[in-house]
């Protein structure tokens, strides 16, 4: 059995290559001047610079949180560069003018940026280090009134939307890493779906960290107007490097009345080597606000990063709003994950559903941390939480930290949890039926994750399948 698990556990990170490209990287260090420099490079309006500076001043008064169940050497915020972009001579007229090396990078990652070769029905925004290098299918989307572009472009083209919604779900003062992001965020994606429009294709952003010793601080803002629908996918990779790199992103989702937003992530940042050297610190704030009859659904497959610290959450503001969180988190070698969700029930008859699957292998430590909070006016609130852990081997750990707080006595809250271990007998049974050990482990793990995988859009389900070496039964075709 151990050989099967070792094989699964020891597979090489496939996305660890670097792209040799000239970059415009600002020197390490963080001060008000850095914030001004980033804002100036992006030619931002005054309101945004002001917002960044407020965030920076607030951040300086904050201390790094240490309540997550993770440990790492302190981060030197002055040793990181806060902005890096591939050097281009002039603004790109179209994707065809994109530096071939960058194009090649995305090809290698399996993210085609040539529209003729695109995955049917998926528009892609590609973020390379600090900037968006291209967005596909823009014209097609425009016909439906859908705005899908880089954050920087949105600031230039649609400042009124940015000013109105930026920070409306995750204020700059929210937490240490969100404040840092607010001060120095470089790029990211912006989505706006107009009233009553069902976005005709999946939208996708692919984040790539390339430069060394830089942080990636992207900011994504998704606004679904009344009655709108959108499904959004996010993927991430980074080269193998022996030093740790900080990724402190913020994702904000606004789902106005009757809108539905489905947000799916396959996170595969470089996780560090077997000894825990290198890898990404993935300290991310993701939160959505659901108004009356709106629904926000988070699905995440977290396989990468040295440390993952993230809690995609939903504020159930309006009556009958629904929040969902489906998560698979895999830790291996010396990876640490402290992830889960927060469901804040404010409106009446709000519902939330949480399904968390944690898989721990090697010396990995996996923590589920989830908060369910029912405020006094949330009459008839309903939550169901299911939290399952699977252990592979004897040196890993699984931890569960549920926080449940009900201030309205009509609330119904359920929490179920289980821990299991991949058994030698299960592997032997499948081997006796002709499966290789690796295939057997994949099948068992995929069965364990089935409830989450079936929530993923098909293109992503396929990627998740590749990623975990898992056969995806039940969820595709």
């Amino acid at each position: 059995m151990s050989s099967a698990i070792d094989a699964l556990v020891a597979r090489e990170y496939q996305y660890g290559f670097t792209t040799d490209i000239e970059s415009d990287t600002i020197p390490p260090g963080l001060s008000e001047d850095t914030v001004r420099l980033i804002s100036a490079k992006k030619e931002e309006p005054a309101f945004l610079l002001e917002w960044r500076l407020k965030a920076f001043r607030r951040w300086q008064q904050m201390t790094e949180p240490h309540w997550p169940n993770v440990s790492y050497t302190p981060i030197d915020y002055q040793a990181t560069s806060y902005y890096s972009s591939p050097r281009t001579k002039k603004p790109l007229g179209s994707l065809d003018e994109l530096d071939p090396k960058i194009k090649e990078t995305y090809d290698k990652l399996g993210i085609p940026l040539h529209e003729q070769k695109l995955l049917a029905g998926v528009a892609v925004d590609a973020v390379f280090d600090s900037v968006s290098v291209g967005t596909t299918y823009k014209e097609e989307l425009k016909k439906h009134g859908v705005i899908f572009c880089s954050f920087g472009e949105a600031v230039r083209e649609h400042p009124e939307l940015i000013e109105r919604y930026l920070g409306s779900v995750v204020p700059y003062s929210d937490n240490f890493f969100a404040a840092l992001n607010s001060a120095v965020f470089s790029d990211g994606s912006f989505v706006y779906i107009p009233k009553g429009v069902r976005c005709p294709m999946e939208l996708s952003t692919y984040f790539r960290i390339n430069a060394a010793d830089t942080g990636q601080f992207e900011r994504t803002l998704i606004v679904a107007d009344e009655g709108a629908y959108v499904s959004y996918l996010e993927g991430c990779t980074a080269p193998k490097r022996s030093t740790n790199q900080l990724h402190a992103a913020v994702v904000e989702i606004v789902a106005l009345d009757r809108a539905t937003v489905k947000y799916s992530t396959v996170q595969n940042w470089y996780a560090g080597d077997e000894e825990g050297r290198g890898g990404i610190y993935n300290f991310v704030t993701k939160r959505g606000k659901a108004m009356t009859d709106a629904k926000i659904s988070w699905t995440q497959v977290e396989t990468g990063s040295a440390i993952t610290w993230k809690y995609p959450s939903v504020i159930l503001q309006g009556d009958n709003a629904t929040g969902e969180f489906y998560s698979v988190a895999v830790v291996n070698n010396r990876q640490q994950a402290d992830t889960g969700t927060k469901m804040i029930h404010i409106g009446r008859n709000t519902k939330s559903n949480i399904v968390s699957k944690g898989i721990s292998a090697g010396k990995g430590q996996n923590s589920y941390r989830g908060q369910v909070k029912v405020l006094p006016k949330a009459e008839g609130a309903r939550n169901y939480t299911q939290c399952d852990s699977m252990l592979i081997g004897n040196a890993c750990g699984a931890h569960t930290f549920p926080y449940i707080e009900a201030q309205n006595n009509t609330a119904i809250i359920e929490h179920e949890a289980s821990t299991s271990k991949i058994g030698e007998d299960q592997i032997f049974y499948l081997k006796q039926r002709g499966l290789s050990a690796e295939h057997a482990v994949s099948m068992i793990v995929s069965g364990f994750c089935r409830e989450v995988f079936k929530e993923l859009p098909m293109e992503f389900a396929l990627e998740a399948q590749q990623l975990l070496g898992i056969s995806l039964e039940g969820s595709v075709g």
């Binding site: 032997f428 499948l430 006796q432 039926r433 002709g434 099948m443 069965g447």
Partner: protein, 255 residues
């Protein structure tokens, strides 16, 4: 087809098989009987290659190959099938997917093309009849929440799908009512062919009324202490095992 010579095996510090020898030719059905703890299940598991047992001596030759050198999945590809005494649950994996994967793995190993899900449904429709199981069974997770009888029938279904050359049934009759017993036995009998063989491990003579063996062996203390034809099973039913258990080995003279 199968030649086991002087096999010894341990689990942990405990020696379970103590010089077992057995020859099975194509077309034969062998029953292995014996008291609790005599090593019947261990023998079945060792033939299939369970990693929890350590083979400390002897040999197993299967169709001219050294079986002990083969991984469990290689044994499966070569046509060795074990119907488990306690079938294992695999939550979240549908029976249909599991069966199709196993079926295709065996086909792949023979250089045959894989069968897609639609065609496989046709294969299954026929096999389900053998074990009198409903199609709904295919959508349930492998053995998860199955009753004891369902689990055993599911083993026979897998056997019917994989059509092994050498089927080993490890106490497949235990805990079955008479109808389920008949279904299981029918499943085995339908597979009987001159080029196939079966080893039926059982406690009770009852199953052998339905699956009529060519040979009956009594395993005690980790070795075969008596072999005979099908009438030996009836004798055991009448006399129990006590008269054999004291004997050191087949043919040895007792004081």
């Amino acid at each position: 087809m199968l030649t086991i010579t002087n096999l010894t095996a341990t689990v942990g510090d405990k020696q379970i098989l103590n010089g077992t020898s057995l020859t099975v030719r194509a077309g034969e059905v062998h029953a292995i009987m014996g008291p609790n703890g005599s090593g019947k299940s261990t023998l079945a598991q060792v033939i299939a290659g369970h990693p929890g047992y350590e083979v400390t001596g002897g040999s197993i030759s299967y169709e001219g190959q050294d079986l002990l050198e083969m991984e469990p999945e290689e044994r499966a590809h070569a046509g060795v099938f074990l119907a488990f005494q306690y079938p294992i649950e695999i939550p979240g994996v549908s029976n249909a997917y599991f069966l199709r994967t196993a079926y295709n793995e065996v086909r792949k190993s023979r250089g045959e093309p894989e069968v897609d899900p639609m065609d496989f449904l046709d294969v299954m429709a026929e096999k389900l009849k053998v074990v009198e199981m409903d199609e709904a069974m295919l959508q349930r997770s492998v053995n998860t929440g199955f009753s004891g009888g369902e689990k055993k029938r599911n083993e026979i279904l897998q056997m019917a799908v994989l059509e092994p050359k050498l089927a080993i049934l490890d106490e497949t009759d235990s805990g079955l009512d008479i109808d389920a017993l008949r279904i299981v036995a029918d499943g085995v009998n339908k597979l009987r062919r001159p080029d196939r063989a079966a080893i039926v491990v059982t406690h009770y003579q009852r199953l052998l009324n339905y699956i009529v063996p060519d040979f009956v062996h009594v395993l005690a203390g980790g070795r075969i202490v008596k072999s005979g034809g099908k009438e030996l099973a009836l004798e055991l039913e009448a006399k129990g095992y006590d008269w054999l258990v004291g004997e050191p080995a087949t043919g040895a003279v007792t004081a």
